[in-house]
């Protein structure tokens, strides 16, 4: 039955095998494809079509084995029930860029010998305990081991294997983070500092850059550098809501504690995030003061505040979200103010339409001016929607109002355009 299964698979493997003969013409041109010789002509099948040349133009034909043909021959000579022989062939196929054939062979080997280390490794599998796992499953297992405190096996076996098998750069960064975290939890503070430093660089240089990871890692480096003995002094209990909510969950008391404990590292990061939030709030206050008289300077301050809040969010996810919502809300309020002023101008012009006896030219000019006002308000509303959509839960009212107003404005614009067309 095993042999029957092999045969089925191998037919699939061999189906793609094609010849690669070399046809050399007297004018020096060379073609590589499948050559067939006829009475007066030589025909060569190429990937893009078939060419036919008179025999007289042909200098020579080199009939060659393609890698596929060679593979077929080797396969015929290989014992299909010998996993090691199949493995050698799969390795050879891999070197000849026959990755699909190699992959199929590795699959066959694992059917013969489920624990074949070479085949598993070639397929990017990682051994954790007695199990061979794919990269994602192995990464999850590794995280579990970290939580369980199995640092030695992680550092000595699992993480080096994961490092070697990481299929993408993002996954390589994840493994690096896990490595740094494991070093930290196993109290190898100087190693952890070095790995987090490398990680910050790698994350910054990644395409696209993993900015949050780079920021977080760089801050951890600073924290570890300032506390080389791995001791951090907490000013408040952590998580901060624990004393308020009488939380029964594990929490850290104020005072000295080891950075090897994840909650202590989180508390240290939160202290840094707090500084960023305080700096951001100062910019926000300055922006608020500037907004009525100098909106451009206010916007610069808002941007600076947002940078601080982004850094804080990189350290502790969503810690500054409420403040970022504040920025959006204030910007929306300022835009609303502009839009309201525009709406008042529009209403004034609308009033003139009804009461003044106008020349057709003046009437048209007025309509065009009204359309201009509506367009300007429409742009404001679109910007409001764009801003509010980033925080749909918090800015639900702003979003709904802007959407409703936009619908109204589109309808009004259509009516005015119709009136303008009618008057022409």
């Amino acid at each position: 039955m095993v042999r029957a299964a092999f045969s089925g698979c191998l037919i699939a493997v061999l189906a793609s095998v094609a010849a690669a003969d070399k046809l050399v013409l007297t004018d020096g041109r060379v073609f590589v494809g499948t050559v067939s010789v006829e009475a007066d002509t030589v025909e060569i099948s190429l990937p893009y079509g078939t060419l036919r040349f008179p025999k007289i133009d042909v200098e020579r034909i080199e009939f060659m084995d393609t890698p596929e043909q060679e593979f077929r021959k080797k396969l015929a000579d290989t014992a299909l029930d010998d996993p090691n022989a199949l493995y050698d062939l799969a390795q050879w196929a891999g070197k000849k860029s026959l990755s699909r054939q190699a992959g199929d062979l590795y699959g066959l080997i694992l059917k013969l010998s489920a624990d074949h280390a070479g085949a598993h490794k070639a397929l990017g599998h990682i051994r954790i305990g007695k199990l061979w796992l794919g990269f994602d499953a192995a990464l999850e297992q590794a995280r579990g081991k970290l939580e369980a405190g199995s640092y030695a096996v992680l550092l000595e076996e699992i993480l080096p294997a994961l490092r070697a098998a990481a299929p993408t750069r993002q996954q390589a960064l994840q493994v690096m983070y896990l490595l740094a975290d494991t070093q930290l939890r196993s109290r190898q503070f100087n190693h952890a500092e070095a790995t987090f430093g490398e990680l910050a660089e790698a994350a910054r240089k990644a395409e696209p850059p993993a900015t949050d990871l780079a920021t977080r890692s760089a801050i951890i480096v600073e924290i570890l550098h300032a506390n080389p003995d791995g001791m951090y002094v907490l000013r408040d209990a952590y998580p901060p809501a624990a004393p308020l909510l009488s939380s029964t969950k594990a929490h850290i008391m104020p005072g000295p504690a080891s950075l090897a404990m994840p909650l202590v590292l989180e508390a240290a990061l939160r202290d840094e995030a707090k500084k960023e939030i305080e700096a951001g709030r100062k910019f926000l206050d300055e922006a608020q003061k500037l907004a009525p008289t100098d909106p451009d300077s206010a916007n610069i301050k808002y941007a600076l505040a947002d940078q601080c809040f982004q850094r804080a969010d990189a350290m502790i996810p969503h810690i500054a979200r409420a403040h970022r919502v504040d920025i959006a809300r204030r910007k929306i309020a300022a835009m609303r103010k502009d839009a309201d002023a525009g709406a008042r101008d529009f209403d004034e012009q609308m009033d003139k339409l009804g009461v003044k006896d106008m020349a057709p030219q003046a009437y048209n000019t007025l309509l065009q001016r009204m359309i201009h006002h509506l367009d300007s308000t429409r742009d404001d509303l679109k910007r409001i929607i764009e801003l509010a959509q980033a925080y749909p839960k918090e800015l639900v009212l702003e979003l709904k109002w802007a959407e409703l107003d936009l619908t109204k404005i589109e309808t009004m614009r259509k009516d005015i355009v119709k009136a303008l067309d009618g008057s022409k």
Partner: protein, 402 residues
Amino acid sequence: MAASKYYIAVFALVVGAASVGAAIFGSPSFCPTAGQVQQALQSLQDGQYAQAQREALAVISSTEEPNPRAWAIVAAARQRSKDYTAAATAYRQFLSEADCPDARQFAIEQIQACTTQAQPWPEPPTSPGKRLNATALADLAKVSDRTYAESSEHFVVRANNPRLAKLVAVEAEVALDRICRVILAGQDYPHSVTISVWPDTKTFHANATDAPEWAGGGFSYSSANSLVTRRIDLTQRDAKGKFATVMLDRVLPHEMCHLVLKELFGDTHCPLFLNEGLAMMAESQVDNSRIRLAGRTVAGKARRRLETICLAQQYNVEEPIVFYAESYSFVEFLHGRLSGQQFRDFLANVRQGCHVADAVQRSLYMPAADSFSADLANAWEDHAIAQSQYLEALAADKTTAQ
């Protein structure tokens, strides 16, 4: 597979460039005593305070590589084993070696905390009314035809009794200090307030026209032509013509707290529960009936949701006595559980228009969580019930003893 090889190469390059990374971030710091420090921290974490102290002191006194940062472990171990005087000494040692502002601030706070803890438990303050004997009470009930004025740092007191004017000025300063320093956690109040003590309810209402009919005191804050007037009106005597001690004990600090909050919040609306809760906290003696009522209500079927309490307005409050008790209980809970700085930040966030749960989360510098409102309500309800049950148990003990 080719891609995999590419990323392995990238990874190897990144790992191989360790020296480059180190050059960018500076050489990783190495501390030779890290192992011993970690051991001491583990003992501290495990509650083995004597061992933690021994291990930390060994690091400090090491002849090769002394690490004075370990004084923090010694201090914490002593503090957690309730040896506050020795803990304060260790914190001072840590303070002298700490190079980080946060660590220094922490040491200063802990020295203060340990010093306070090391003192004998202070006697609870006596309310001003209880300090007065029968002669004083009779004296303070007298009403002269003349109006006497007495001034202090923040107050100008007018009353038809010279002793009363003086007493009110003194007690007003005491109450203001408690409100600003303790309740509002360091709020300034650089203003002057006029306090008028009217002989009876009739004259009080004739002069304090904004005060509700049932009230025995009131405050007003008005501004005209850049001139701000701050005023508190009080009643000297009760319906029986006796000196109203409640005026000193409760009405004066209560109204003063409203006035300070009015100043603090400016044009922004101060939620009713917060305004009344803080004003009740300002009173010079805790009214246990409020605590018991709040606990009973929260535990009963008629309990109202915290959300309803936080959003209540003067005109839509049902069962005002229960609402006031719940407001007091919730504000006292928040005040007791948050640090002074956190409570001040909380007030600032409410002033900026934040909802209560949002204001608390911002003051704690924590990511906003959807479940926080419910968690806060549960924690407060548990607190209210526990406080109430404690008082009920005390009352039961007293009855049994009698």
